[in-house]
Amino acid sequence: MLQYLALAAILFAIGIFGVLTRRNAVGILMSLELMFNAVNINLVTFNKYINPDNLTGQIFAIFVVVVAAAEAVVGLAIVLLLYRNWRGIDVDRINIMKW
């Protein structure tokens, strides 16, 4: 069980590092996917080891996958729009949401 959790933690850490450091918006999205997957692994793991009789965790994981897909769609659409308006997808430049 520990291995699974460790894997998930590592994946999560990688994801968060990516989100924080990538300049490229697409990269950030990909890092987000990593974090989702870390969560999915956690869900499945806990389901398997703590309450194997019902499949709540697994179903949740499937939900997350679906939502992640949807999120990716929306996210990519935003990225596309960003690109059109800013001629680039460098998130450092996109800082109009300040004072």
């Binding site: 989100v19 450092d92 430049r93 300040k98």
Partner: protein, 688 residues
């Protein structure tokens, strides 16, 4: 006929309503309707009289409730007794004559229909006044006759003097009515009823204290003072002559002004309950009579002379009634009551005749000034003859009706020497001024050729009423012949018949007085043996005083009207400036207070609020650098925070190292940033 005697008053009311709403546009129909209705009333009154004679003067009463409240109720009703019956006849006869006369007199007036509607309304009110069975109802009609009098005096309202006179009449009589109201209030409060019979019973039974009777009597009499133009409220009547002459005849000579006398006679049981009140009444009557007779000596307006003569004669009646009251209070009956009511009746006829005759003259010569007349008897035979008959009657010449009634009045002063002396003096003056008027108007040379030239006898509709009234002026008094044992005095009486019988000495004395008055007038104005101007010159101050009517109008103007009007303006100023000033001042004060508070607000309260704002702005200026718009930076903070919390939970000491690490990283990043150009800004520009 007694049961529906109330209809008598409704005939003219019907005429009034019909004229106002329906027949106003048809002059002839309106006038005939009005006359027809009053004639109907006259016929009905005759039947009432016959029935009243048949039941030997037994009274009849019928009433309906007007207003009913606990402890207080008012009723409307009719009360018929011989006095009522006589008054009904007098009013309907004079009204009929005047209305017929008006057909000719008012011919061609643009407000012809309206004139007849007013006359009908007046007759209605007067009949209601006569028929009333309680003090409340008499007051209602009392006021209504006042209204119609106002309307008719001011009938030619384009003339300022006419509208002034109307107003003066209304307000002056209303001042008297104040007393009337207070009297009625005293009756309601202390006697508890307004019905004549009940009031009289309670007064007679001694339930009501003497003071109350005196007070009630005097206050009620105030009403009569106003209406019957007694001193000191007599000033309105001469001015009332601004109205059309038939109106003067009907209202201001024969009927309405007699209302006061009627009321005193009607309420005799109350007035006679107090010797004081009766004495006041008698004195006022005498004073009025004397003042008016003296003024009449010097006036030149034909109607004014007659008006003052009316005032004087009314004073006579009031005096006679008052003296009766005095005698009654002292325990014996005298001729006064009969004298007053009898004279009321005869006077109505001959005074109406005098006024209608004067109207006929004015109609012919278009002036009121007797100095511009003269010699008219040649041109106006009927008018002159009837006028002379009336003058003889009022002067008290045997055997005309005025003689009998005046004789009674003189008889009523027996036992009151002062009253008797002045009564005879007034009788003398009456004879003198009446014949002064006759001689100046109808005899001698015309003093105004042009007006004389245009003069002509009046049309038949005017002369027939004159003749009819002349007939009454001669014979109406015969119902009260002292030799008759079932005459006027045994029909109209108070409590018990007082039949004095013929008193030859008094008759002779009063005849001598009257004849000498006429004789003096004959010498001065017919034979011109004595020059009137010389006498006037000799007694200049007295003449001026009399000619100016004792300056009553000026006096009232100075001591009442001017101060009241002044007071109104003072109060108006007070209201607009002091009371309203206080209101506005408090408003102003509130505004000023608000201003002061605004300053406080601006600098202290707002200062504090704004200070907090400025502080916030300063802080915000610092903290806004935390918000740099970079999503990643925010996420970094969140992640750092989350990690920090975890670290704190695990090793609180390690948390400080963690914080230190973060700080170092942040500073180093700032260092790097400051060395590089800010790409974010260039991005913003790029967008623009």
């Amino acid at each position: 006929m007694l049961e529906n005697a109330y209809l008598i008053m409704f005939y003219p009311l019907f005429a009034f309503v019909m004229i106002v709403f329906f027949t106003r546009w048809k002059e002839k129909l309106s006038s005939h309707l009005s006359i027809g209705m009053i004639l109907l009333g006259f016929i009905h009154s005759v039947f009432v009289m016959i029935e009243m004679l048949a039941r030997h003067g037994q009274s009849y009463e019928k009433a309906i409730p007007f207003l009913t409240l606990p402890n207080f109720s008012l009723e409307l009703g009719i009360f018929l007794d011989p006095l009522t019956a006589v008054m009904l006849l007098v009013v309907t006869i004079v009204s009929s004559c005047v209305q017929i006369y008006s057909l000719g007199y008012m011919h061609g007036d643009p407000r012809f229909s309206r004139y007849f509607s007013y006359l009908s309304l007046f007759t209605f009110s007067m009949l209601g006044l006569v028929l009333a069975n309680n003090f409340f109802m008499i007051f209602i009609f009392w006021e209504l006759v006042g209204l119609t009098s106002y309307l008719l005096i001011g009938f030619w309202f384009e003339k300022k003097s006419a509208s002034d006179a109307g107003k003066k009449a209304f307000i002056t009589t209303r001042i008297g009515d104040l007393g009337f109201i207070v009297g009625i209030l005293i009756l309601t409060a202390f006697v508890g009823t307004l019905n004549y019979q009940q009031v009289f019973e309670r007064v007679a039974s001694g339930e009501v204290s003497a003071t109350i009777v005196t007070l009630a009597g005097i206050f009620l009499f105030c009403g009569a003072v106003g209406k019957s133009a007694q001193f000191p409220l007599h000033v309105w009547l001469p001015d009332a002559m601004e109205g059309p002459t038939p109106v003067s005849a009907l209202i201001h000579a024969a009927t309405m002004v007699a209302a006061g006398v009627y009321m005193v006679a009607r309420g005799m049981s109350l007035f006679a309950g107090s010797a004081t009140a009766s004495l006041v009444i008698a004195s006022i009557g005498l004073i009025t009579s004397f003042i008016a007779a003296t003024i009449a000596l010097t006036q030149n307006d034909i109607k004014r002379v007659l008006a003052y003569s009316t005032v004087s004669q009314l004073g006579y009646m009031i005096m006679a009634l008052g003296l009766y009251g005095v005698d009654y209070a002292h325990g014996h009956h005298s001729a006064g009551y009969v004298a007053g009511t009898f004279h009321l009746m005869t006077h109505a006829f001959f005074k109406a005749l005098l006024f209608l005759g004067a109207g006929s003259v004015i109609h012919a010569v278009h002036t009121n000034d007797i100095q511009e007349m003269g010699g008219l008897s040649k041109k106006m035979k009927i008018t002159a003859t009837t006028f002379f008959i009336a003058s003889l009657s009022i002067a008290g010449i045997f055997p005309l009706s005025g003689f009998w009634s005046k004789d009674e009045i003189v008889a009523s002063t027996q036992g009151h020497p002062v009253f008797m002396f002045f009564t005879l003096l007034i009788a003398f003056m009456t004879a003198f001024y009446m014949f002064r008027l006759c001689f100046l108007t109808f005899t001698g040379k015309p003093r105004h050729e042009e007006k004389y030239h245009h003069a002509h006898e009046s049309p038949k509709s005017m002369t027939y009423p004159l003749m009819f009234l002349a007939f009454l002026s001669i014979f109406a008094g015969w119902v009260g012949l002292p030799w008759l044992h079932h005459g006027f005095s045994s029909f109209v009486f108070h409590e018990e018949v007082h039949h004095a019988g013929p008193q030859y000495i008094l008759m002779i004395v009063s005849t001598i007085v009257a004849v000498s008055g006429i004789g003096l007038a004959y010498l001065v104005y017919y034979k011109k043996k004595i020059s009137a101007d010389v006498i006037a010159e000799k007694f200049k101050p007295i003449y001026t005083l009399l000619y100016n009517k004792y300056y009553f109008d000026e006096l009232y103007d100075a001591i009442i009207i001017k101060p009241v009007l002044g007071l109104t303006n003072v109060l108006w100023w007070f209201d607009a400036n002091i009371i309203d000033g206080l209101v506005n001042f408090s408003g102003w004060l509130t505004v000023k207070w608000a201003d002061a508070k605004q300053l406080f607000d601006q600098y202290v309260v707002d200062g504090a609020v704004n200070g907090a704002g400025y502080l916030m702005m300063g802080l915000a200026w610092l903290f806004r650098y935390a918000q740099n718009g970079s999503l990643q930076f925010y996420t970094l903070i969140v992640a750092a925070g989350a990690i920090g919390i975890v670290i704190y939970k695990v090793t609180p000491e390690g948390f400080y190292y963690y914080l230190a690490g973060l700080l170092i990283m942040a500073l180093s990043r700032l260092l790097v940033r400051s060395l590089r150009t800010e790409r974010a800004n260039s991005g913003a520009k790029y967008e623009g």
